[in-house]
Amino acid sequence: MKSISSLFFKDIVVEWRNKEAVSSMFMFGVLTLVIFSYAFDPSGTDRSLLTPGILWISFTFAGIIGLNRSLAMEIDNECIQGLLLAPLSRGELYLGKVASNFAFMMIAELLMMPPFVVLNNLTFSFQIIEIIGVAVLGTLGFVSVGTILSMISAHTRMKEVILAVLQIPLTIPVILTSVAATGQILANETEGISYALMMLAGFSIVYLTASYLLFEYVVED
């Protein structure tokens, strides 16, 4: 537990110094929000159906940028070798990376919420807190898959492209469920939403466990 938190704090400190991850994720996310809003005619009446989708596409693309960047950071200067030599089990290494990726992605998403609310003419009400709640579960699922896939794609030639190709099919259930849940919240029909939340939580638990067990196969040289 202590080793996971020290790995986590190492990443936080590095990020605090250069602020690369969060700023690039935030910029890319906001640009995606804007471009999709333009693509779907901001003044149209049926826009409300598209809003949750646009939000989650922005989150997904920002998340892939963040995963790529965190991966690149480890590969440059061969930091991975240093981490492997440390007295950490492979699974703890995985959980530490998940924690830092999750933190950066959540910060970027929180920063993206105000532009999202403003551009879509929503209100800053309790709804937003609920949407963030769904985002927490969805992001956890996204990052639990993404971290192990980023280590897998680190061994290939075209790392960033392969990461996107591997990541998107596997995170389809997360995106589908999160978009549906967000749509329900925005439409104020939160009846069956516990199904969605349980599914997202179940996804995260299953993938965290599976990746924890499989991570040793991925980092051996």
């Binding site: 030639r157 069956g192 599914m199 499989l214 196969y217």
Partner: protein
Amino acid sequence: MGKRILGISSVVLMIVALYLIFVYAGVDAAQGEPFRIFYFHVPVLLLSYLSAILLGSACIMFLYNAEAKWDRAGAVAAELGLVFGGTGLISGMMWAKPIWGKYWVWWDVRLNLQLILVLTFAAYLMLRAYLPNQEKRATLSCVFGLLALVNVPFNWLAIYFVPTLQHPKPVVSPGGGGTDPDMAIAFTCSLIAWCLTYSYLFSTRLAVAQVEQEVEYLEQVVRAS
């Protein structure tokens, strides 16, 4: 020798199946001519599910005892799964257009699962293509294969539940067969023909994959000396 018998019998049975489908079995009362697509479409899709199961088992076996033959079997299963799944999807769209009026229906569970399955096969093969080192390729693609295997129930849950949260339940694609005995015979023959074809393609491709690996190894030895 065995492979040759397999190959010849699959061709023969395929011709018999075609005869049964187009001449022997009658025209379907409800759907007319397009129903004939099902005689091929359903076995092809079933075999793509089989490919997925084979891939999953091969990945588990490889991580268990690290023998290269499991990794090869997984790769071959993925290739066949991609072709069978892809052509199954397209033939399904050919059926859907005259019957439903459109090529694709979102929120139909089986359609979407099939699409995601084909995308997963493609991603697996693309990963393998970008990993030149043989051992790394085997290990990493098996890890990805297992992660993708775990994904399947969640996909089913998401596609099944999500529409009920927002939209009404959609049309479900009907199964094949029908109650007419002629149709049942034609369908069974087609199914067996396709199983034989799949086995033949699988065993041939697997043999070639094994030789490929040995030649790769020989190349390294010769270049080194």
